[in-house]
C-alpha cells in the first residue's frame, strides 16, 4: 500500500512538473528559445498568492486569480522587453538574456521578500481520503484533478481551435505561417501568456505541497521541468506531459526506496539514459528535412 501512496504522490508531483514543462516546450516549439526564466514565474506566482491571502487578507480564490493574471502580464512583458528585440539574434544571446531575466526576478524577490522563506497559505482544505489502508493526501487529489483538466483543455485547444492550429503552424515553419496570414508575434505572445498561466498554477500547487516559498524556490522545479521537457521530447506537448509525470514518479520512488540524497542524481541519470537511446526524447519528432 505504501508503494501505491508513493506512486500517487509521485504522480501529483509529476503533474506539477508537467505544467511547468508545458511552458518550456511550447515556448521552445513556437519561439525557438529556451526561456530559463520560466521557473521563476512559479516563484512570482506563489509569492503573489502569499501576499494576496496572508498580507491583504483576500480569499484564496481571488489570490489564485490574481496570481495567474500577474504571471500572464509578467510573462508577456518579459517577452516584449527582453526577447522580442532579439528575435533574429543568435540563440546564445537569447539564452544568456533569459538567464539574466531569471537572476533579475530572483533578486527582485530577494529585495522585496528577503531571504527567509515565507509560509504558503492554506488554499486547499480537502481532507485526506482513506481507501482501506491507503491514505491519499487532499492536495494530491486536487493537484491531479486540476492538472489533468488543464492538460485535457490544452490538448483540445492546440488541436481544435484556430489559434491552437496557428501555434502548431508557427512551430513547424515560421515563414510559411506568416505567408498564411498568421501573425508570428501575436502567436508568440499567446504562447508566453499560456506558459506563464500554467507556471502560476504550478506555483500554487508547489506552494501548497511544500508549504514554504523563497526567492530561489522556482529554480529547482524549473530545471527539473526543463529536464522533463527534454525527456519527453522538447517541442512536443504530449511529451512534456509524459516527461513531467514520469520524472515526478521516478523522483518520488527513488526517494522512497533508494535514497533521498541520490534522488536527483537518479532522475538526471534516467534522462541521460533515455537521451542515449532516443536523442529526440520519448515523444520527440525527428526534424523532417524533406526538400
Amino acid at each position: 500500500m505504501s508503494f501505491l501512496s508513493n506512486l500517487i504522490s509521485g504522480l501529483s508531483l509529476g503533474s506539477i512538473y508537467a505544467l511547468i514543462a508545458l511552458g518550456y516546450t511550447m515556448v521552445y516549439g513556437i519561439a525557438k528559445m529556451l526561456n530559463f526564466a520560466h521557473g521563476d514565474v512559479i516563484m512570482v506566482g506563489a509569492f503573489t498568492v502569499i501576499v494576496a491571502v496572508n498580507s491583504m487578507g483576500l480569499p484564496a480564490v481571488l489570490g489564485i486569480v490574481l496570481s495567474v493574471l500577474i504571471c500572464v502580464v509578467m510573462g508577456v512583458t518579459i517577452e516584449r522587453i527582453a526577447y522580442k528585440p532579439l528575435r533574429s539574434s543568435p540563440p546564445l544571446s537569447v539564452l544568456i538574456t533569459a538567464i539574466g531575466v531569471s537572476y533579475f526576478l530572483q533578486s527582485l524577490a530577494l529585495i522585496i521578500f528577503g531571504s527567509t522563506q515565507k509560509s504558503f497559505p492554506k488554499v486547499f482544505n480537502m481532507e485526506p481520503v482513506h481507501l482501506g489502508e491507503l491514505t491519499i493526501k487532499g492536495e494530491s487529489i486536487e493537484t491531479l484533478v486540476v492538472t489533468t483538466a488543464i492538460m485535457i483543455g490544452l490538448t483540445l485547444f492546440i488541436n481544435k481551435t484556430k489559434m491552437g492550429k496557428a501555434m502548431r503552424a508557427v512551430s513547424e515553419d515560421r515563414a510559411a505561417a506568416e505567408l498564411m496570414g498568421i501573425s508570428v508575434n501575436k502567436t508568440i505572445t499567446v504562447t508566453f501568456a499560456i506558459g506563464s498561466a500554467l507556471a502560476s498554477v504550478a506555483g500554487l500547487f508547489f506552494g501548497a505541497t511544500y508549504g514554504f516559498i523563497g526567492p530561489y524556490t522556482g529554480s529547482m522545479p524549473g530545471i527539473k521541468a526543463f529536464v522533463a521537457a527534454v525527456f519527453g521530447g522538447i517541442g512536443s506537448i504530449p511529451g512534456a506531459m509524459l516527461g513531467g509525470i514520469l520524472l515526478g514518479v521516478i523522483e518520488n520512488l527513488a526517494k522512497a526506496y533508494i535514497s533521498t540524497e541520490l534522488s536527483d542524481a537518479i532522475v538526471f541519470g534516467v534522462l541521460v539514459l533515455v537521451l542515449c537511446l532516443k536523442p529526440t526524447g520519448l515523444l520527440g519528432k525527428k526534424i523532417n528535412e524533406k526538400v
Partner: protein
C-alpha cells in the same frame, strides 16, 4: 496590380538583388526566369514581406507595401506558394487548407470543397498527415492552400520543382485554370520552356539584375534565353 520599383536586397554583405523593377498587370501571367542563384526567390520573398529592400517601392493594388508585415498581405489579396512548398508536414491535409484561410474565416467548408474538386486526390487524403503525401500531392496541397484565401495575385515559386513530366503538365494546367478564374499570376520557374509558353510576359534575371524582358513568345524565340536557362553568364 503589382509594381516593383528599383529594389535592392542584401543578405548581409551579399548584394542579391540589384535595381530590379518590373510590373504585373491585372489578369496577366508574368514569369521570372533565370538560373540557380539569379535571385528569383529573393524577389518573391521581398514582395511578400519576408525580406526587405533597402531602396525603392513595392506597390500592390495601388498601395505601398514595401514596409508591410508579411502576415498582413494575405487579407490584402496576395498569396505566395514558396519554393519547396513549405506545407505543414505534421498537420493534416485539411488543417493545411484551413491555415490557408486563416485570415478569412467564412465559407471555409465551401472553399475546402472547391479545392477538393480541383484536386480529388486531396479529398481522399484529407485526414492524412501532410508529411506522408507524395511530392506531387504536396505541391497540389501547397497550391490549394494558397487558393483558400482567394488571392487576387498568386505568387508561385517553382511549382514544378522535383515533379515528373506528367505532373508538371498537371500543375501548369491548374495554373491556367486558376488564371481563368480571374487570378493574376507571378510565376518563377526553372522550366523556362513551360513558363514562357503560358506567360503573357516574362523577365529574365541574371545575378540579381533584369537583363531581358518581353512577351512569352518573343523570349522563347530568343537565343539569350537559352543562355540564361542553361546558367550562362
Amino acid at each position: 496590380m503589382l509594381k516593383v520599383e528599383n529594389i535592392n536586397v542584401y543578405y548581409g554583405q551579399i548584394h542579391a538583388i540589384k535595381d530590379v523593377s518590373f510590373e504585373v498587370h491585372e489578369g496577366e501571367i508574368v514569369s521570372l526566369i533565370g538560373a540557380n542563384g539569379a535571385g528569383k526567390s529573393t524577389i518573391l520573398k521581398t514582395i511578400s514581406g519576408l525580406l526587405r529592400s533597402k531602396t525603392g517601392h513595392i506597390t500592390f493594388k495601388g498601395e505601398d507595401i514595401s514596409k508591410t508585415e508579411a502576415y498582413k498581405l494575405v487579407p490584402k489579396g496576395l498569396a505566395h506558394v514558396p519554393e519547396g512548398r513549405r506545407i505543414f508536414l505534421q498537420m493534416t491535409v485539411k488543417e493545411n487548407l484551413e491555415m490557408g484561410a486563416y485570415t478569412k474565416g467564412e465559407n471555409m467548408a465551401e472553399d475546402i470543397e472547391s479545392v477538393y474538386n480541383h484536386f480529388p486526390r486531396l479529398r481522399e487524403r484529407q485526414n492524412q498527415i501532410a508529411g506522408t503525401l507524395s511530392g506531387g500531392e504536396q505541391q497540389m496541397l501547397a497550391m490549394g492552400r494558397a487558393m483558400m484565401s482567394h488571392p487576387d495575385l498568386l505568387i508561385l515559386d517553382e511549382p514544378s520543382m522535383g515533379l515528373a513530366p506528367i505532373l508538371v503538365q498537371g500543375i501548369f494546367d491548374i495554373i491556367k485554370e486558376f488564371h481563368k478564374m480571374g487570378t493574376t499570376i507571378l510565376l518563377v520557374e526553372q522550366n523556362a520552356e513551360m513558363a514562357l509558353s503560358i506567360a503573357d510576359r516574362a523577365y529574365v534575371l541574371e545575378s540579381g539584375r533584369v537583363v531581358l524582358t518581353g512577351t512569352g513568345e518573343e523570349l522563347k524565340a530568343s537565343d539569350q534565353i537559352k543562355k540564361a536557362y542553361l546558367g550562362g553568364n
